[in-house]
Symmetry: C2
Subunit: 213 residues, 2 copies
């Protein structure tokens, strides 16, 4: 899409040793595609700083956005080690904690901790518009629970459409897992399985602790 | 459960004109049950202040917890109008905006805006513990999206087990709607239906605006 067009447009003008990097949320096959569009004397390094907010655009910029947050670089066998080091140094200067991983691992991990949560929030909002429940106008009675979700659902719709479609494969895999888990938990509610629910809620607490550490 | 035992224990000691109310998250059939446990000269009025936080217990108390938040009272044909007025006045003094509605409507609305969001968050956490994805240790890369969910999943597990099981019928109905919606959105991702996704995300924004107003 856009990245390819930009790469094709700039490729003829790249100087000897030029490094091209990106901040896109989906890597996978795109990294190899970007690499293949570079001239021999220029280097591509895929990057993804994990530091989003619900606001987008230049007006939403803050100087410390990357401070203490993670940035994932996705080198391949084709990557130039010096170029990789330079891009890592750039992100470290901005305060980010840099990790390196395979582009496809990146997509699975981001599907799990970022793309799926956003999808789940959007689906919740959409559920509340279902005529069966919307006629009772429940949203006026929303408290903490729903409001945390609405912040997520306030992110840029265009960006999330693109992310969901670009990362389709990993997304669908995660949604399958989510559906399987939801069905399991629903069954426990139907069966009145209190201990089973407690077990799940306790595990949730341990995930929370990991996420905040 | 607990409420019934307490009602049975206090019933013989209630003075003429005594008013009993509660702050439970589930109403439905329980309100009629509580009413039936009152002696003739005492009055039950169901109440539910919508002002939870992820912390529970006396230590988490704050003086302005109810300020500006909603409180739902659930009178029935049996309710004493004077008792209802007194309970409403009590909550208004605490700063709450009081609404009245049918106990079963209450349960459906709360299932939609509070119980379902919490379930969806717990299911997300549980999904991340699935061996297929947990082996990649994704949670260390969590950003905003997941962290908003972890706050929800930090609420009291005992309380949520009780709410899910007490409000079983409305919950399962809402989970069915959620599953139907999730399947619909997954299909749009599989089909690469960008405009269809944009339509859903736009509706989500309008739900958000209602929830925050």
């Amino acid at each position: 899409g856009t990245f390819e067009r930009i790469c094709q447009a700039i490729a003829p003008h790249l100087k000897e040793g030029a490094i091209v990097t990106d901040v896109g949320s989906v890597k996978g096959a795109w990294v190899a595609r970007m690499e293949s569009l570079m001239p021999r004397h220029a280097f591509f390094v895929g990057g993804h700083p994990i530091a989003g907010r619900e606001k987008s655009g230049v007006e939403a910029a803050t100087a410390d956005l990357f401070q203490g947050n993670r940035c994932i670089l996705t080198p391949t066998a084709q990557s130039n080690p010096k170029a990789l080091k330079k891009v890592a140094a750039l992100w470290e200067k901005a305060g980010a904690r840099v990790s390196e991983m395979d582009p496809f691992d990146h997509d699975q991990i981001l599907a799990a901790v970022s793309h799926l949560p956003h999808l789940v929030a959007y689906v919740l909002m959409e559920t509340l518009t279902h005529p069966k429940i919307a006629k009772k106008n429940p949203v006026q009675f929303s408290a903490g629970g729903l409001r945390d979700f609405t912040r997520i659902a306030a992110s840029s719709p265009e960006m999330w459409r693109d992310i969901f479609l670009l990362n389709r494969e990993a997304m669908v895999e995660m949604v399958d897992l989510y559906q399987e888990t939801l069905e399991k938990v629903k069954k426990k509610i139907i069966d009145g399985d209190g201990p089973g629910l407690m077990e799940i809620f306790s595990r949730a607490k341990s995930v929370r602790q990991k996420a905040l550490s």
